[in-house]
Amino acid sequence: MKRSKKAFTMLEVVLAIVFFTMMTLLIAATLPMATRSSRQSSDTVQASSLLLHKIDQLQGATYARLNAPDLENLKIVDDAGTLPAANLDGTGSGGASFTVADNLRAFFPDYSAQPEGRVEIAPYLPSQKVVASVVTYPVVQATVTVTWKDSRRQVRSVSMRALLPKAKLQ
């Protein structure tokens, strides 16, 4: 009689097992989401940092070097891409990847199969000047984009556009 008084009933044991199982399942269900959010935030931060870094590099290269050979030599882009061969008057446009130059694969996880960084340059149209029928653009706009895939294989990207003038900071 003493032993049976101290024991749990079958109902108590079953309820306890059900309770702990459901609680564990529910909590476990939230963990991947928390992990995904955390990963997504770190990817966004990383991508934003890459954008700023690339814009800094382009500003440092100066207006006169916003062309394929110079940007390639300065290791700002992977290759010539479609960037203009020369761009002294700011009329050229085109783009190139910097995926390798900045080793984007190292910053994004394995499931992001195709991280890509791209620089696109183009004339900043409001800066157009026409002197003796010659058109020039003393301001060039550079658009930098980083694209990656998250854990759900969804494509994510962030972009930033900067204006790069011919005028020099001394």
Binding site: K5, T9, L11, E12, L15, A16, V18, F19, M22, M23, L26, I27, A29, T30, M33, A34, T35, R36, S37, S38, Q40, S41, S42, T44, V45, S48, L51, L52, I55, Q59, T62, A64, E120, Y124, P126, S127, P138, V139, Q141, T143, T145, S157, V158, S159, M160, R161, A162, L163, L164, P165, K166, A167, K168, L169, Q170
Partner: protein, 576 residues
């Protein structure tokens, strides 16, 4: 038995009920957290908060980038000469001159939008300028620019102080790489040095240009480039176009690592392949400043443009000048006199301009001599002093003399004696004797050639600049004596070259320059033996006038309207 049975039943129900309630509460909490995933709160709050934080950070960085772009647009606008007027209050750029890249005008700002990516949302840029009240009288205009970038609710403001760039900031500047130029012996540059190294057509860097620099490993004592600041030695040439020769044996040896400290005060290698700095080809700026908005005279002579009896421009000289003699008089030698001699057909013309900043007056006395002696017209006395621009439409065959001091109150400059002498861009200046700051004269025994041993001017010294096509140091002074020692206190820009007359045959001597040497082509002053002994001509001692960094000669050419950044700050909000 009854109490036992009742007791067991009660316990079982209570526990079951409690567990059921707990389960329901937990389920509600967890499900609630799941339902609000993506937003703040809930069990995923840590991840969501980090993501939200990351997005906000991206928005702030984008706003910062927009503000920076606005600031760069402002620089371009200023460099394009967009600013026409100098108001005393904050204005949007387009209110001060030319349109600002299609921006609209709203609330005292120029406002424009800039999409952030091919399909991304647009941010806005707002810009305005705060010109300094002193811009009308300062040798270099000063501005504060503010740029506000906004993106998705984030706002960032950048404030930048800018000062107009001036070629006078160079101790040495050469548009072309000096032919067979050797930087050797005692050559020292204690200010910024820049070599463009352009080809003859000026279209790009000459790939065949080279420079030879003889260097030693004696540490600070052998530093050729002694300026420890930005731009100590910059060049558009590539590193391979500079030949570094080790002084002890003449062998080619390019400094590296710690050896740079024996060559440059910065301890760093030169900046190679920097974009060329374009030299001006005309002196229109100085011409217009001297006229002060008045019409250019048509007859030979010297005028101080005036409105009524007030001086409104500088000093304008029409025609060639046979001699310009400078002298200082008055209290503390603060009164500047310029005796300007010209020939108008058979008539000699002598114009004496006396500038007295202490009494804020200028006197112009014109005398003529047609062969029967000098006849003077009544002097013209004006209120105010010239703005510092002295412009000659002709060449100046003889220049020498003493430059007046500033008017001081203790150690504070009250009134300046700042002048820039410019000629038409196809005319020249010949220096026939010392041109020396009054408070730096060390030997005035030869009135045609005052000498100075000063390595630096001080606050009370005047300021002088020369802008012309060619500058030449004559072989003899105005009295016919060999010019073996000559001192020039001026920042000189020669649109062609600055050299000595007959450098390989004239007697050997010394040329002491206190100012800056800015030329298209570096000139020859003499020739030396392999041991550095001067065989003929002048040994050049270059001393940079460090005052030029903040206060260059008035209307001295600027670098294509380039502006130097004095400060760059991220601030909490606009000034007004």
């Amino acid at each position: 038995m009854k109490p036992v049975i009742r007791k067991r039943t009660n316990r079982g129900m209570a526990l079951a009920a409690a567990m059921g309630i707990l389960l329901m509460i937990l389920a509600v909490l967890v499900l609630g957290a799941l339902a609000t995933a993506g937003a703040r709160g809930g069990l995923t709050s840590t991840g969501d908060s980090a993501l939200s934080s990351a997005r906000k950070r991206n928005e702030v960085q984008t706003a910062q980038n927009l503000a920076d772009s606005g600031m760069r647009l402002t620089l371009q606008w200023l460099s394009d000469g967009g600013m026409i007027s100098n108001p005393l209050t904050a204005k949007a750029p387009s209110e001060l001159g030319t349109p600002f890249f299609g921006a609209t005008l709203a609330g005292g700002y120029n406002v424009l939008t800039l999409p952030q990516g091919p399909t991304g949302p647009a941010g806005t840029i707002k810009v305005r300028l705060y010109p300094y009240a002193s811009n009308d009288v300062q040798n270099r205009r000063l501005f504060v620019a503010e740029s506000v970038g906004s993106f998705s609710g984030a706002t960032q403001t950048i404030r930048m102080a800018l000062v107009e760039g001036s070629f006078a900031r160079y101790a040495f500047f050469s548009d072309h790489a000096p032919t067979n130029w050797w930087v050797a012996g005692n050559t020292r540059f204690n200010g910024p040095v820049h070599i463009n190294g352009l080809n003859a057509a000026g279209t790009g860097v000459d790939p065949a240009a080279t420079m030879n620099i003889l260097w030693d490993t004696a540490g600070a004592t052998s530093q050729i480039f002694g300026y420890n600041g930005p731009g100590s030695f910059t060049t558009s040439l590539s590193a391979s176009q500079l030949n570094w020769h080790y002084q002890s044996n003449g062998n080619l040896w390019t400094p590296s690592g710690g050896y740079w400290a024996s060559v440059t005060a910065t301890g760093a290698s030169p900046d190679f392949e920097v974009p060329p700095v374009k030299m001006p080809v005309v002196t229109t700026k100085q011409h217009d400043a001297a006229l002060g908005g008045t019409l250019e005279p048509t007859s030979i002579g010297v005028s101080v443009p005036a409105s009524g009896s007030s001086a409104v421009g500088g000093v304008f000289i029409k025609g060639d000048v046979s001699a310009m003699k400078l002298s200082a008089s008055g209290p503390n030698s603060t009164v500047q006199t310029m005796d300007i001699y010209q020939t108008d057909g058979p008539t000699q013309v002598r114009t004496t301009v006396t500038v007295d900043p202490g009494s804020n007056s200028t006197t112009v006395l014109r005398q003529t001599n047609s062969g029967s002696g000098w006849a003077a017209a009544p002097p013209t006395v004006l209120t105010g002093v010239p703005n510092g621009a002295i412009y000659s439409s002709g060449s100046i065959s003889s220049l020498s003399g003493i430059l007046a001091n500033n008017v001081m109150s203790g150690s504070t400059v009250v009134k300046t004696n700042d002048f820039t002498l410019a000629t038409a861009s196809d005319k020249d200046v010949q220096i026939t004797g010392g041109v020396v700051y009054a408070n730096q004269v060390s030997d005035a025994s030869n009135p045609n050639n005052p000498l100075s041993s000063a390595a630096q001017a001080d606050a009370s010294s005047g300021t002088f600049g020369i802008v012309t096509r060619k500058v030449q140091l004559a072989e003899t002074d105005a009295g016919g004596n060999p010019l073996t020692d000559v001192s020039v206190h001026a920042t000189v820009m020669a649109l062609d070259t600055f050299s000595a007359e007959n450098p390989t045959t004239r007697p050997s001597g010394n040329f002491k320059l206190l100012g800056g040497y800015i030329v298209k082509d570096s000139g020859t002053f003499g020739r030396a033996s392999g041991t550095g002994t001067m065989l003929n001509g002048l040994r050049v001692t270059r001393n940079f006038d460090s005052r030029n960094v903040t206060n260059p000669p008035p209307f001295f050419p600027s670098e294509e309207n380039a502006f130097q950044v004095i400060s760059y700050q991220r601030v909490g909000g606009p000034l007004e």
